[in-house]
Each structure stands twice: as C-alpha cells, then as structure tokens.
Subunit: 191 residues, 2 copies
C-alpha cells in the first residue's frame, strides 16, 4: 500500500496578484488589506472559502499569503491561516518562524481564527496575530468557529503573542456577507 | 514572486511497515497498537517527533497513517493527527471524512491531541477520537500541549464525536519517556 501525498499549493492567480502588489506593507491596516483582498479574490476565482491570511516580517515584507483551500483541495485543515503558516515556514526554512525568539513576525487573518487555527498559532512562532472580522461575523453567515476558549486572546498573550482585533473589521465582515449572499458553500462537516 | 508549495509526504519506511501489517484492525487496542508502532518507528528512523496517529473506517481498515513530521518537514502544523486527517481525506477524496454523516471513522492518536489537533477534529468529519497517552504524559517530558479547553472531551462529545481515552496508555507513555531519555528534540517554538 502506497499512501498518497498532499501538496499545499496556491492557485496561479495569487502569484499574479502579489506581483502587482506593494513590496512592503507598512502598518497593520495595509497588512489586513492584503488578507481581505485575498479573501475576496478567493471567492471571485472560486478557489475556496471566504478567508485570507498572510505572514509578514517586522518591516512589513510579505513572507507568504494563505487562502482557505478546504473545498478545492478537499482538505479540512487547509484554512487560510494554516496555509500561510505552512508556506511561511517553507519560505523561511524553519518550523519556528521566530527562530528561537529572535524575530517578530505577524500572522494576519481576515477573520478571527477558529479553534484549530487558534491552537496552531503558538506552535508557529509568530509573535502577533492581527484579526479583521470577529468570529461572530463568521458565525453570522453559518460558519462554525469550533470549541474555542472563552478568553482565547488572553491565552495567546500569556504565551507572548500579541493580539490585535477589529482591524478593518467592517471591510472584512462585508466579504463574509457577500460570500453568503451569493450562495457560497458553508461547509461544516457531518451536517 | 512565486510562492513555494509544501508537500505532505510520509517517509518511505511507512509504506514498507504498513505492507507487513494486518489488513484489518478489529478493535481500539489493535488500532492504537498501530499508532504506537508508528510513534516508535518515527523515533527509530529519526523522521520526526514521538507521535503517531491513523484514521480507520468502521470495520477497522486503515485509511491513512500519520506521523509527527514537524522537525523533518520544517512545518509546525504537521502533527501526527493533522497528517493522518489530511492524507485520509486525500485517500477518500473528500474534506468531510463522514461524507455528510454517513460514515463513522476513527482518528487514533498515540497521545491526546494538542490545542491545534483538538480544534481540527470537528472539521475533519471523524466520529471517534481514540487516545493513548494523556496530555500530562506529553507535558511530563516537556512538550507543551497548548491552551486547551479544560473539558475538551465534552466539547467534542457535544459535537457528536465520541472520545475514548487511556487505550494502551502505559505503552504509549513509555514511547514518550524513551524519546526524552534518548535526547529527542523537544521543539516548543520561541524558547
């Protein structure tokens, strides 16, 4: 029995889009703007769910973008944050993005992380989590965010990870709403 | 800018090992035995951390094995459970292993899931989580299990996922201890 492999790969349009983007994203709004653009384009290109993410270094240089690829890659772990973290680690060549605490990278997510992505953040070595839409915005269109700690923000902060919420929240939430209104798949399992 | 891809792939020894294994794993102990063997062999082959997992269908047929590949693939999301879920979905060709609730598959993990893997379970569509060593056994050798809900077992059960703990716990915990005693890498990030 030979087991298959799974390749995590971004759709072709991402490379084209990034090539035309800025080189440096100087502040949290610019970084969130990219994550929201990725969510919007992921819907337009029908390459996955309405979620975008990205990892940036401290100077605002993009290390790796991420998209929700669950329905197109047939893989439930491929949330935008997971893809961004895995690809950033691939770009950097290390599983600890901070390299033993030496660097402070951001994970930017167009919507607050679900239970899985929340749990993935401490292992990744990012030092800031920047969120757009709130998890209640995701739940409002029917996405389940999973069993999260009531104070997940504090749980990250205790581990040295700063959390910044509500960055361009209205813009980010608008994408979620538009996705639901145009009949996008709400793909909670077993239901 | 062309972003790299990440391929999740099991080491060659896994195929050889599975070929020599039973075809059907009739009960939870047999299924756990395989997960523990995978953890042990992962240490022996130096292909990752001391954790094994697998997805089985209801009849006990192995769908996909999983190994912790964090240090060898340089990717923090590649815990054994995540690899087993992603590869099982690849084998089955669907992101919801239950296929809309029609099937009852098991995820078997040699150690209780960390915060990330716990959060991944509801999205995956498995209907039972079978655990060997307890998370305190992992913490005892220095692995951080992350910020988990105090009653994570109940949180899964509420979502229709049965949790069976302590299956061959002593055997599973022994593997963790042996890993630590032989100087295995305890790779918590940023520390």
């Amino acid at each position: 029995m030979k087991f298959p492999k799974l390749t995590i790969e971004l759709p072709e349009w991402v490379n084209d889009f990034i090539q035309e983007s800025d080189d440096v994203f100087p502040d949290v709004e610019a970084r969130m703007g990219l994550a929201i653009d990725l969510a919007r384009l992921n819907i337009e290109h029908k390459t996955g769910g309405p979620f975008g993410a990205a990892v940036f270094d401290q100077s605002g240089r993009l290390i790796a973008p991420g998209l929700n690829l669950v329905t197109t890659a047939n893989c439930s772990i491929l949330h935008a944050e997971m893809v961004a973290l895995a690809l950033a680690q691939r770009v950097l060549g290390r599983f600890d993005i901070s390299d033993g605490g030496k660097h402070r990278y951001d994970l930017v997510a167009s919507t607050e992380p679900c239970a899985m992505c929340f749990g993935a953040v401490p292992w990744s070595g990012v030092k800031r989590l920047i969120c757009g839409a709130r998890d209640e915005d995701a739940r409002a269109i029917g996405f389940d965010e999973g069993p999260k700690l009531a104070d997940w923000k504090k749980a990250l902060e205790i581990r040295g990870i700063a959390v910044i919420r509500d960055v361009l929240r209205a813009d980010a939430a608008k994408i979620l709403k538009a996705y639901a209104e145009t009949g996008g798949s709400i793909y909670n399992p077993g239901s």
